[in-house]
Amino acid sequence: MTQQQAGETPGFGPDLVEVFGPSQQDGGPELVQLLTPEGERVHHPEFDLDFSEDQLRGFYRDMVLTRRIDTEATALQRHGELGIWAQLLGQEAAQIGAGRALRPQDYVFPTYREHGVAYCRGVNPLDLLGLFRGVDQGSWDPSENNFGLYTIVIGAQTLHATGYAMGMQRDGVVGTGDPDRDAAVIAHFGDGASSQGDVNESFIFAASYNAPVVFFCQNNQWAISEPIERQTRIPLYQRALGFGFPGVRVDGNDVLATYAVTQAALQRAREGQGPTFVEAYTYRMGAHTTTDDPTRYRLSDDLERWKLKDPIARVEVYLRRNGLADDDFFEAVQQEANDLGHTLREGCKALPDPQPLSIFDHVFTEMTEELEQQREGFDAYLASFEGAHR
């Protein structure tokens, strides 16, 4: 019989606080990484991939353009052109890595911060601005790019993703061995969402039905003002095992590793091997949204430490050091970003306000008699004003 150690609870193993906590700020030993913050290419026994020069330059371009969409939108909010903006600064690699790992037939269920993934799917960034300007609630057609509408209730979309994946199973587009046919779903959410009942229920449904869905969690360490320690006492990726499927923690600021891990997880799903949890370990460099003030709840030390792990800088270092891109390339990308910024600026200001009577459209597939009557009444009321605008 062994003697009980001081401070150890009998029979329950080690204190979980030792597994998780401030000492793990580098992501811990399980972190999958292919490109270090210093721009050094490293290898991983399971998730290594060969990347073409075009792919590497493409990742760089994607991330620079995504950052520009984000900074431009933030500026537009400051100028009063957007009501609010949910910033993704610092999460470009997580989103581009995940977004580029998708095939056209895959389907994405985003939160409201997946601007980089939207860009990868071909959604016009101006359409994203419409929602935050308040002229619509998401104007893109989800079926056009297999990219769902932004979901604002935290975690609700993970269940939609799981159901959609169950539909794919029934449509016979999983595990056929045909790479152009086999499809998977990716559900995006954050560390805060991992506490939601819907997210946990989606894990259970996905595991129970072996649904082809990748749960892609961008752990950006903060849910508005609440640190990750408020959501979990173990690394999030370790939760997956309790639900009966694998979990992986990847350096979410490393676009190569995020791409490699997501691609493997999607492939697993497409082949009919079921769900995977991917924890993209990253950091929310900006505020939760433009209405938030992070100086009230977090230290700038953290921010400084994460600045050294910038997702774009490390790719630039790698490209330059290995002679894969020259000044002309970087200048051209910069010019493209400036042009995109200009287009967004002008386009955003030109977005028309919806007409008041449009409120009644699309509550149902066909307007009910009740709503027609309300619409008529409102129309007559508006018309009673001089110079009525309807």
Partner: protein
């Protein structure tokens, strides 16, 4: 023609809908092998397979939330909430997602989903098994809410709800599942889904009812007839949208209205009906619209539930008060 119960009517209707459209799926707790705790889905998994009649984990939000995804993929999910009081874990998905998808997407997304809920009391159950949450859903824009009251309507209305491209909350009076039988003529043409129906003509007082109280109202009308009072009974059938034309027509003839439902009176369907009738039939009214429903208390222990629920006597009491006004 055969005589069937409400449970059988619903079962036959579900079977017909599944035969007619391969995209129709059933999902819920115990709906497969067991055939549902009320046996509404009896035999369907055996005939349509586990991919189309899906036993789900015990998580109502999960059931409705995954059904949203299935609908997005082109399916027409019919989910069963086992008991009325268990719908609340799914309330967020129903109110924030199911109800708003079409509006949010400016019509690009359709949400053809049916959420079946056995509702109402009278079966001697424990807490949470006898509730009437219809007003909470009728209050939510984007949802359609209907309640069947008899076997024939059960057969037709469930098929019509499944064929509807909008989400439908489908309320089934559980007390009636295995009670009264009715003749079903499968070759008949049913009335449109979102319509009310006069189920007994009368001249003195109009009684509005739906779901389980239709039977109560009809019994009351029968009893009143013996005393020389002529009660017209309308089975509302649809709670959102409301089909008010037959109601206004009736009220303009009788001038007196009693609304009865098992739900609480406060802010219930009766309140909305009273408001609309007052607005539209003000000069025809001989008495205020009276409401007979449950008291504004939580559902009581089942030994006293019949005191809590509106019954024949309480409906007749209201009829008398209306006539005496």
């Amino acid at each position: 023609m055969s005589k069937i119960t409400l449970a059988k009517g619903l079962n036959m209707g579900l079977r017909k809908a599944m035969e007619d459209d391969p995209k129709v799926l059933l999902m819920g707790e115990d709906v497969g092998k067991l055939g549902g705790v009320f046996r509404i889905t009896d035999g369907l998994q055996k005939d349509f397979g586990e991919d189309r009649v899906i036993d789900s984990p015990l998580a109502e939000s999960g059931i409705v939330g995954t059904a949203v995804g299935l609908a997005l993929r082109g399916y027409r999910p019919v989910v069963e909430i086992q008991f009325d009081g268990f719908v609340y874990p799914a309330y967020d998905q129903i109110v924030c997602q199911v109800a708003k998808m079409t509006f949010r997407s400016q019509g690009k997304i359709k949400m053809p989903m049916v959420i079946r809920i056995p509702f109402g009391g009278g079966i001697g159950a424990v807490e949470h098994h006898s509730e009437s949450p219809e007003a909470q859903f009728a209050h939510t824009p984007g949802l359609k809410v209907v309640a069947c009251s008899n076997p024939v309507d059960g057969y037709w209305m469930i098929q019509q709800a499944i064929a509807c491209d909008d989400p439908v909350i489908f309320l089934e009076p559980k007390r009636q599942y295995h009670a009264d039988k009715a003749e079903l003529d499968e070759s008949a043409t049913p009335a449109p889904l979102f319509t009310s129906r006069v189920v007994r003509g009368g001249t003195d007082v109009t009684v509005l009812a739906y779901g389980p109280t239709v039977k109560t109202a009809l019994s009351a009308a029968e009893a009143a007839a013996g005393e020389g009072k002529s009660i017209e009974v309308i089975d509302l059938r649809t709670l959102s949208p409301l089909d008010m034309a037959p109601v206004y027509d009736s009220v303009r003839r009788t001038g007196r209205v009693v609304v009865t439902h098992e739900a609480h009176v406060n802010l219930g369907m009766g309140a909305e009906l009273a408001a609309r009738i007052t607005e539209n039939c003000f000069y025809s009214l001989e008495a205020p619209v009276l409401r007979v429903g449950a008291f504004d208390t939580p559902y009581p222990p089942s030994r006293i539930e019949e005191d809590y629920l509106p019954d024949l006597d309480r409906v007749l009491d209201a009829v008398d008060r209306s006539l005496e006004f």
